[in-house]
Amino acid sequence: MDTEIQNTFRALADSTRRDILMHLSAKEMTIAEVSAHFDMTRAAVKKHLVILEEGQLISARRIGRETLNKLEPEGLKTAFSWISYFSEFWNVKLQNLQSAIEEEGKSKND
């Protein structure tokens, strides 16, 4: 399973994180600046930012005591490509199918 694509999809599969991306598309922001747009604690925002970074959708760089978060549009390209979406989609389905068939085999042998 391609973990990179999986992380990107995971990062995108949440409306708060997509909102964060929209805000970051305007400019680089610190956690405090991102938090100002949401009714959440900084810790909660930080968690979302970590998941976005794992999904390669943003990058973080330290300037003095601040961490600036920046949108990485290249990361979106992978997710927007149909081939990678369906490729991953079918990987998941086929693995589900394999386990479903194995399950049936087991219950027959019981």
Binding site: L12, W82, V92, Q98, E104
Partner: protein
């Protein structure tokens, strides 16, 4: 429009007839994909049904069963919401290999310029769930 084809193979320690049943009967489709409204019938439309976040039933994937050649070949036209009405083609080929079955999936007709926003909407509804199932399956 750039035509894209995805090909995948999987092996099963099961007969073609067993694998076929998982591709064509409503309950067994539900064990790995989504339950179908009815068992699949050649020439007839089909729908795979899921449950939305608010509990309502919704069509997830649908199309027409174009070909059923038991137990060798099954062809569906196939679309999902995010494809915005574009019909693609999904073919399943079943070959007997060493007492088991080699299943080849061919998904063709995908347009490379598909809309990203719609894709994300779909992911929101469905992706987490499938990843969860996958994790359970691999435990």
């Amino acid at each position: 429009m750039t035509d894209i084809t995805i090909t995948k193979t999987a092996f099963f320690q099961a007969s073609r007839e067993t694998v076929w049943s998982f591709l064509t009967t409503k309950e067994k489709l539900g064990k790995w994909f989504h339950p179908a409204e009815n068992d699949l019938v050649e020439g007839e439309p089909y729908s795979l049904i899921g449950t939305a976040n608010d509990g309502a039933k919704m069509k997830i994937c649908w199309g027409t069963v174009l070909q059923m050649n038991f137990p060798e070949k099954l062809v569906w036209s196939f679309t999902v919401n995010a494809l915005e009405g574009v019909m693609t083609t999904v073919s399943w080929d079943l070959e007997e290999v060493n007492g088991g079955t080699k299943l080849t999936l061919t998904h063709s007709g995908l347009d490379a310029s598909g809309s990203g926003l719609e894709l994300i909407t779909m992911l929101d509804a469905g992706w987490d769930m499938h990843l969860g199932k996958l994790r359970d399956a691999n435990k």
